[in-house]
Subunit: 145 residues, 4 copies
């Protein structure tokens, strides 16, 4: 189980990472393994779709069982498949980096996902990873899969 305490650490550290890089306003959503929102922060000045994008990255990762970086590659190779799942999911699949699976550090068990939106996808993903690692958990971006 991903508890609120760990989820809050993830958000705080992801935002600290964003501030250390002087990124624009960021939005961070943490979902549990069932895809339900645990905690959420939208920094001042974030545009209106940032919640949906951050959640869509995280939920798409949980829905497909891989970080959203992999989904970007699949969307390029098989757009008809990723398009169909995106419609099925009511849009809750955003196939660009920034949706990262959270695994327990020991057994690699899936416990949730983080979605970050606000800057370029690589930077968004770096913030998610920084948050997860700072919470003593393992970040699975989908890279290499």
């Amino acid at each position: 189980m991903l508890g609120l305490a760990a989820a809050r650490t993830i958000v705080a550290e992801a935002l600290d990472h964003a501030r250390s890089l002087d990124l624009p306003p960021m939005t961070v959503a943490v979902l549990d393994a069932g895809g339900h929102l645990v905690t959420f922060v939208r920094e001042d000045g974030s545009s209106l779709y940032r919640e949906a994008i951050a959640r869509g990255k995280a939920m798409g990762a949980l829905g497909m069982g891989t970080g959203s970086r992999t989904l970007q590659a699949r969307a390029a190779a098989h757009p008809e498949f990723i398009n169909a799942v995106t419609v099925l999911a009511g849009g809750a699949l955003v196939p660009v980096p920034g949706g990262v699976l959270i695994r327990s550090d020991d057994a690699g068990r899936l416990v949730g996902a983080v979605g970050v939106s606000g800057h370029l996808p690589d930077a968004d993903e770096a913030c998610a990873v920084a948050g997860i690692v700072a919470a003593g958990l393992s970040a699975d971006t989908g890279a290499g899969s």
Copy 2:
């Protein structure tokens, strides 16, 4: 404008109030004046619809321009109207106390809304009010309107 700093204070103080009363797990959502989520916390053990309920209380308050306590009275007096709006809004109107408008302390200008769900409606509303007041803002429950 309701900034993230004030929204976080509202959440922290609402949850402190819930803990001081030994309430069950609570869920708190803070929306800005446009109805967009600023920050959100779901305590461990909250059931799955708590996000939707907390947001529905807050969004219904913004949507109708009055705290959700008033909406409960209107639903009793004019169920056909409140039912119609509830369906129009896709459910984002939950007519029980716990959705509280946030007004600036000086001019009474509307800056957002808080929705709380987890216990009985009166207790949910008391948590929302405690959070808003602790942030130096004015809570409009709809009582008396």
Copy 3:
């Protein structure tokens, strides 16, 4: 976690119970703690809405954190609240008995829910309880809460 093996036992035993009582065709859905379908059976001759009803009983129980028997009482006392949540949930809340929370037998931890539809609500619920108990788990109908 509610695994597939336990979920299948629940379905098999719930249907055995229905057959021992000579009930009409039954539909049984087992959801995990996140509300996702694990396994499902619709007996020959079941009418077309049975899937939606069985899932709505189970999902409503998970969404509100109590068996659907309690939700029936709440719908009677506060129809405006249960109506609003039903719309919010896209209908996935059916406030009659037959949606039963599954708890681990030792710690009472929530691991999922069963929904049964096909006959009168009390009989539907009895089938769900029979299945859960046969799987060595604890059934929480919401009675007494």
Copy 4:
């Protein structure tokens, strides 16, 4: 008519086939000729969108009257048509192999469809076909049409 007994055989044999090939966790949905779910199994560890994908493959096959392998070819040749139908259907058309029509062995009459998701489309389809054949029915993948 596709009865529950045959549907359960299809699921059991499809999963046996998957296990014999050491595939990752699989999800199998069996729909009747009206597109209604008869039985469903999601193996432990399946990701959250597998139900929607498996059903989308099977429902798309029924909806268009051909196995989803054909729909993949049509999506390549006429993406504007398949995209439009996918949106019409709320996503319940996933144009990759793994959605297989079930026909009666003698007259070729359509009795339902199976959808499988979990691994690469060809492997998913092979599991569906193995299940249908083991149940003494005829599998129509859409290949050659």
